[in-house]
């Protein structure tokens, strides 16, 4: 499985193609990350593509984190394919160059 979670910190390394078949596993992983106490860090560097189901799960996780008062951040670089996808579907405005801009740029994230 290309998706893995570092044991102690809430780090979620995502990779490959995040289509609907990965959404359920992604939900589980993010739930585990949120179960800890530290900030949740999600790396998108190795993501090749994403579809709505997984994106919705990321949105949901961020909203839960907010409700719990937990930090939730993207780390690593942003693959251009992913960026293009999110821009075309309206989730991202402009083409952010830094990872932290993705969080700020995502609509109603």
């Amino acid at each position: 499985m290309p998706t893995s979670k570092a044991e102690t910190q809430g780090i979620v390394n995502l990779s490959g193609v995040l289509y609907t078949d990965r959404a359920a596993a992604l939900k589980k992983e993010l739930e585990e990350a949120l179960a800890g106490s530290g900030p949740v860090l999600v790396s998108l560097s190795l993501v090749e593509d994403i579809d709505l189901a997984c994106l919705q799960v990321l949105y949901a996780a961020r909203r839960s984190a907010k409700a719990l008062g937990r930090e939730f951040h993207f780390v690593g670089s942003i693959p251009s394919r992913l960026c293009k996808r999110l821009c075309a579907a309206g989730f991202l405005r402009g083409h952010p160059e830094r990872t932290e801009d993705i969080e700020a740029g995502l609509v109603e994230f």
Binding site: T20, D21, D49
Partner: protein, 122 residues
């Protein structure tokens, strides 16, 4: 990594012409001559980017194949296109109900095929 597409049709000519066009577009293809053979192939595959299947085939037809494929966890959300002859509305609906993503109406030209493949498989 090139995207991998399974083509299921009992006509070798059609399979080959579809393969030919898709190769030109940089896709990788594998072929099966009916639903049953295809189902057996799925058992040994981890994933596919797209399945294109004919409807009328011996052994296991397209509709039956789609139903079975959707029961497999690895292919629950795999895009599937149905090859229908002419505009058989009923077949399209049957296909959709069984879980197909879309359809290609025969006769089609290469451009249309590529357009639809890109549309559903990205």
């Amino acid at each position: 990594m090139p995207k991998k597409i399974l083509i299921i049709d009992d006509s070798a000519a059609i399979r080959q012409s579809i393969s030919f066009i898709l190769h030109q577009e940089g896709y990788e293809t594998i072929e099966a001559q009916d639903g049953l053979e295809a189902l057996n192939m799925l058992a040994s595959l981890e994933s596919l980017d797209l399945i294109i299947t004919d409807v009328n085939m011996p052994n296991l037809d397209g509709i039956g194949f789609i139903r079975k494929a959707r029961e497999l966890a690895a292919f629950k959300f795999t895009p599937i296109l149905v090859l229908t002859t002419e505009s058989q509305g009923s077949k399209m609906n049957e296909g959709k109900e069984a879980g197909a993503t879309g359809w290609i109406v025969k006769p089609f030209n290469a451009d249309k095929l590529i357009g639809i493949v890109k549309k559903v498989a990205g």
